[in-house]
């Protein structure tokens, strides 16, 4: 990937270089962990079409994570390889948000998690795609198109679940409430993001946040569902490496083959 030599723009200084690495890891780890979670649906989807859809979304996320890990390795050989980053770090080294490590639960929980996640990234990538750090803007321009499909897909399911049966509506509303405490972590810029914002104006958090809330309100009201009124945020925070127990369980499954056969090629 040498053609992709990254110009760091305003982020050449060591501290901002570290912030950039951390911010990229946040995005990459989000994609990897959610990609793995979605892959757990493979063979268990409610219909064959949905099984394929969730697997395709999973593959997009895994591909996004791989791309970002490779960009990190290309800039700093100390990272070793994309596989090393994915399979040989422990849970306390992962920077993914708490939302993505949540278990799949029922189909409504999976879909609500996807909407909460994809809506954030849709609006984040919209801004990052014109930011001055080419590593971020190049990636965001591409990933945004993928995320728009994911969001459209999950959003249409929200409409069907909310406007469906009493059962589907109750489950969708329960998932909306259950996962709501994890949204704040997405919308509040992490320490790494804050440094990049201060130095290079990579994105405007308040714009992302207000677009996100506007989108959710419109979608949920159309689905006859309610945006939770609670403002209680989870005490956990993956950006600060404070994870739930779900992450270590997920990693133990995801990393087991690579760790059992560290030199294997496939």
């Amino acid at each position: 990937m040498t053609s992709n030599r990254v110009e760091h723009g305003g982020a050449a200084h060591t501290s901002s270089r570290k912030a950039l690495d951390h911010f990229v890891l946040e995005i990459a780890d989000d994609a990897l962990v959610l990609g793995h979670r979605l892959s757990e649906w493979c063979g268990h989807g409610p219909t064959i079409e949905e099984d394929i859809a969730l697997s395709n979304i999973s593959l997009d996320h895994l591909g996004q994570a791989q791309c970002l890990y490779e960009l990190l390795v290309e800039n700093d050989a100390n990272y070793g390889s994309a596989d090393k980053l994915a399979f040989f770090r422990d849970s306390f080294e992962f920077r993914n948000c708490i939302l993505v490590e949540q278990e799949n639960g029922d189909f409504a929980q999976t879909i609500v998690r996807q909407v909460y996640f994809s809506a954030y990234y849709y609006f984040l990538y919209e801004q990052l795609s014109s930011c001055p750090i080419s590593l971020l803007s190049d990636f965001a321009a591409k990933a945004r198109k993928e995320v728009s499909y994911h969001l459209r897909h999950a959003g249409e399911w929200i409409l069907r679940l909310g406007d469906g049966t009493t059962e589907s509506k109750a489950r969708a509303q329960a998932a909306i409430v259950q996962l709501w405490p994890f949204v704040e972590e997405l919308l509040a810029p992490s320490e790494a993001a804050s440094i990049l914002i201060a130095e290079s104006q990579v994105f405007e958090p308040s714009t992302v946040s207000s677009a996100y809330k506007q989108y959710l309100e419109t979608l949920l009201s159309e689905a006859t569902l309610e945006v939770p009124s609670s403002t209680a945020a989870s005490p956990l925070n993956g950006r600060q490496l404070k994870h739930s127990e779900h992450l270590s369980q997920l990693l133990s499954v995801m990393q087991s083959t690579a760790r059992a056969h560290p030199d294997a090629l496939w």
């Binding site: 990937m1 040498t2 053609s3 992709n4 079409e49 949905e50 394929i52 859809a53 395709n56 979304i57 999973s58 593959l59 997009d60 996320h61 895994l62 591909g63 996004q64 791989q66 791309c67 849709y122 080419s134 803007s137 190049d138 990636f139 321009a141 591409k142 990933a143 198109k145 993928e146 728009s148 499909y149 969001l151 459209r152 897909h153 959003g155 249409e156």
Partner: protein, 170 residues
């Protein structure tokens, strides 16, 4: 448009050769038709090819790289270096009209112009603009926004009743 640098005569030959390398998932389109070959450079017989990935999750990218490599080796040249170029991001707008016609003949509705699919409007609002590749009817509906591969959606024609795949605009 594929940029050709260095030894342009050999570069053109490589391009013609790659125009025969088919995408394993849509085997009527070549990697050149798809627009994923961005540039070819030949210097003293060594070949460097820059390609751009389609979807991040496209599992075909590794087989495609291997097929490109084999094709260049088959020309008697040395094994090419294949670079991945992220920017500008791949778009289905790079699929030219002759390739779109190949898709139609194959039974896949070609992608609408990117401008027709803006942001996150519901797919149901778009599918009414996708002509059926069998009978050209515009009375079509989406069955699933993810088809057999990430790049396609599954649709159905309400006139001829045939299901068909739509190469999503991206």
């Amino acid at each position: 448009m594929v940029e050709i640098h260095g030894d342009t005569i050999t570069g053109e030959k490589v391009l013609r050769c790659l125009a025969e390398v088919l995408d394993p998932e849509v085997p009527v389109l070549s990697v050149v038709d798809l627009g994923i070959v961005r540039s070819i450079r030949v210097d003293d017989g060594s070949v460097t090819i820059a390609i751009t990935p389609t979807y991040s999750g496209c599992p075909a990218i590794e087989p495609i790289k291997a097929a490109i490599s084999d094709a260049v080796l088959g020309m008697g040249l040395s094994s090419p270096e294949i670079l991945t170029q992220l920017s500008p991001a791949w778009t289905t707008d790079w699929i030219a009209e002759p390739a779109r016609e190949k898709l139609r003949k194959y039974g896949i509705a070609p992608p609408l112009p990117r401008s027709a699919e803006v942001g996150i409007v519901p797919f149901s609002e778009i599918s009414s603009h996708i002509p059926c590749p069998h009978c050209d009817s515009l009375k079509t509906e989406e069955l699933s926004s993810f088809g057999a591969t990430a790049c396609k959606a599954l649709c159905r024609c309400k006139d001829c009743r045939e299901p068909f795949e739509y190469f999503k605009s991206f």
